[in-house]
């Protein structure tokens, strides 16, 4: 049964990847300009080179063969050159990717740490003042546009109070060599003498963007946990447990939590995709050098090979995470395996 489900998921994943690559491949034609320039990324193509390049990119063959050639190039790691820097798109993506991952992970962690307890609290004490306060704050946080919220926080904490920086991952005066691309591990692994100052500086830079990015997922977590917990609390097995004589806390812990948190795991996957999108906006405001800012810059500059590569990777990431969390969810929840 489990295997059957797993196979079906794998089939779905491959179908999805095919669809995504077809979309990315078609972008070379959909974007304005010369197809050869869009596919290769070279801004200056000398007439002698044209023929060789056309053969190399299989542009003189049928669309299907071009698509297969494109797939091969993608798997080889040859994603074309960026228009503006004439450097390989893939190496640029690899350079900026960890920054976004780091920001998104910390934001997700923050939304867990804040969201789940608050959601449980709101469910257990639904009609009290605090419960309603939490619901009210959640509604406000859900409705606020993220870029405006970020600007308000910057205006308050950076410009007025001056306690937090406005941009970047770490002060530029710190010379941290790049090993993993993730700032905190890199500081740890480096051999500089001022590690603790550097870590504190990095955390200061991380605080505002992570809070901003975590706002929306936290509200979703709170709502979801609360709804889920409320639904569980109404179940008969809870009433049975109470009737048996267990205290509130024991009921909550042994019976309520596991069942309430299961659907929350699924939410992680969905939240991650929203996170990536919101991260793009956050990165622009905080000048965080991640893939979101890179992709948006490429869109402004009409840097087509970069846009193609960026879209492919972001969409793939979103879908992969979704699939993974669904599989995880099904692992833990037997009921979902029927689907």
């Amino acid at each position: 049964m489990m295997l059957h489900y797993f196979l079906r998921r794998c089939f779905l994943i491959s179908f999805v990847f095919v669809a995504l690559t077809v979309l990315a491949f078609s972008l070379s034609y959909l974007f304005p300009g010369d197809v050869l320039t869009n596919v290769s990324g070279l801004t200056e193509i000398r007439p002698e080179q044209r023929q060789t390049l056309i053969k190399y990119y299989a542009l003189d063959q049928s669309l299907l063969q071009q698509y297969i050639a494109y797939l091969n190039r993608i798997l080889d790691g040859e994603w074309g050159l960026s228009f503006s820097s004439q450097q390989p798109v893939l190496s640029e993506i690899i350079a900026v990717f960890p920054a976004t991952m780091e920001l998104a992970s910390y934001a997700l962690l923050l939304s867990f740490v804040l969201g789940i307890p608050l959601g449980l609290f709101a469910a257990v004490k639904a009609d009290s003042f605090f419960g309603r306060l939490i619901s009210g704050i959640t509604l406000i946080a859900y409705s606020i546009p993220i870029f405006w919220w970020a600007l308000l926080l910057i205006m308050l904490f950076s410009l007025t109070l001056g306690v937090l920086p406005t941009a970047g991952r770490i002060s530029v005066l710190f010379d941290i060599p790049t090993t993993t691309g993730f700032m905190l591990p890199d500081i740890w692994l480096s051999d500089i003498s001022y590690k603790s100052e550097a870590i504190i500086d990095a955390l200061r830079h991380l605080l505002l963007p992570a809070v901003v990015l975590a706002t929306f997922p936290t509200t979703v977590m709170i709502r979801f946990t609360r709804d889920s917990m409320l639904a569980v609390l109404e179940q008969s097995y809870i009433k049975t447990a109470r009737a048996k004589g267990l205290s509130r806390a024991q009921v909550l812990y042994h019976h309520g939590l596991r069942n309430a948190l299961l659907p929350v795991i699924r939410q992680i996957g969905l939240q991650f995709s929203t996170l990536i999108t919101l991260a793009m906006i956050t990165e622009v405001i905080f000048s965080w050098p991640g893939i979101g800012q890179w992709l948006l810059d490429s869109i402004y500059q009409r840097n087509y090979p970069a846009i193609q590569g960026g879209l492919l990777i972001v969409s793939c990431l979103v879908i992969v995470v979704n699939m993974l969390t669904e599989i995880l969810h099904t692992l833990f929840n037997p009921l979902a395996r029927k689907a």
């Binding site: 859900y142 409705s143 600007l151 990536i276 999108t277 793009m280």
Partner: protein
């Protein structure tokens, strides 16, 4: 004084009236509805009631403070921006763009969603399965990302944004409508209709649609809040409406340069976007709770 009843009469109000009664009981939802109507009126009337021309540059009155400060003037209640354009007029016109275009995209997406959802809901077998897979794929990508992708291909601009957001909202509408239609199709009265000899179209028109429109309204409100946020976000990023259009997101991006000189130019458009989204969410939440309470009664 309690209502004096001479004799006992069953009061069976229609479902709509019941809904409204439950809705009315939630003060927050009513407040949201009032705000929503305010924005709706503003959207429709803005071209007629703006005190000044939103695009008129007045080089003599640059960066005028709002009227409540010493240097402000009453004729310019919210002051002027750095090209001398009246901020209040621009904010009012902005409602047409942010709120109005959001409404248009939601309506457009809803109509397309009904068409596609009906097709999907009424079909069966392999066709249905493939469609479902494609739909699942489209659902996993967040609407803003989808909109950015479409704008990346089509290029920035207000019309392209409108299409982009319409397409980005489509998957969730199609998904919801298809599920709703399939659920309705399982009902007994639909079977009765079919036995009476109704064609597919007649089933759709007389049995399915009237029963799902409340569900549609709730979906539409959720989509509306997403649409407003997405339009403002795209405008802010420079991918949507372009300057000198006075869309609220564009106004925030323009005013970033003036963050020290005129912080109100950033605060005001943001407050309006926030209020618009809040009102839609309040109404949506209110409707959902009202429906739940109506079911319980």
């Amino acid at each position: 004084m309690r209502k004096f009843r001479l004799y006992f009469e069953e009061q069976n109000r229609g479902p709509l009236t019941q809904l409204w009664q439950q809705f009315q009981r939630q003060h927050a939802a009513v407040f949201g509805l009032v705000m929503f109507s305010f924005f709706l009126l503003l959207t429709l009337l803005a071209p007629l009631i703006t005190p000044h021309n939103p695009y008129l540059q007045n080089p003599d009155l640059l960066l005028l403070a709002p009227s409540w400060s010493d240097q402000g003037l009453v004729q310019y209640p919210f002051g002027t921006d750095d090209l001398g354009r009246d901020l209040m007029s621009r904010l009012m016109k902005g409602a047409t763009y942010t709120f109005g275009i959001a409404l248009v995209t939601v309506l457009g997406s809803l109509l397309m969603g009904i068409a596609l959802g009906a097709l999907a809901g009424m079909s069966r077998g392999v066709q249905s399965s493939i469609f479902n897979h494609v739909l699942d794929l489209a659902l996993t990508i967040p609407s803003l990302l989808l909109a950015i992708i479409i704008v990346a291909v089509l290029g920035p601009g207000l019309w392209n944004t409108t299409w982009a957001i319409m397409l980005a909202l489509l998957p969730q509408f199609v998904h919801g409508i298809r599920n709703a239609i399939q659920d309705t199709l399982k009902q007994d009265y639909v079977a009765a209709y079919r036995l009476d000899g109704a064609s597919n179209w007649q089933v759709l028109r007389y049995a399915v649609l009237p029963n799902i429109w409340e569900h549609l309204t709730v979906m539409a409100t959720m989509a509306l809040s997403t649409a407003i946020l997405d339009i403002a976000a795209l405008g802010f990023l420079g991918l949507g409406a372009q300057a000198p259009t006075s869309e609220w997101g564009v106004m925030i991006a323009d005013a970033l340069d003036l963050i020290y000189l005129a912080p109100w130019a950033i605060a005001l458009p943001g407050i309006l976007v926030f209020a618009a989204v809040l009102s839609v969410n309040l109404v949506g939440d209110g409707l959902r709770t009202a429906m739940k309470k109506r079911r319980e009664n």
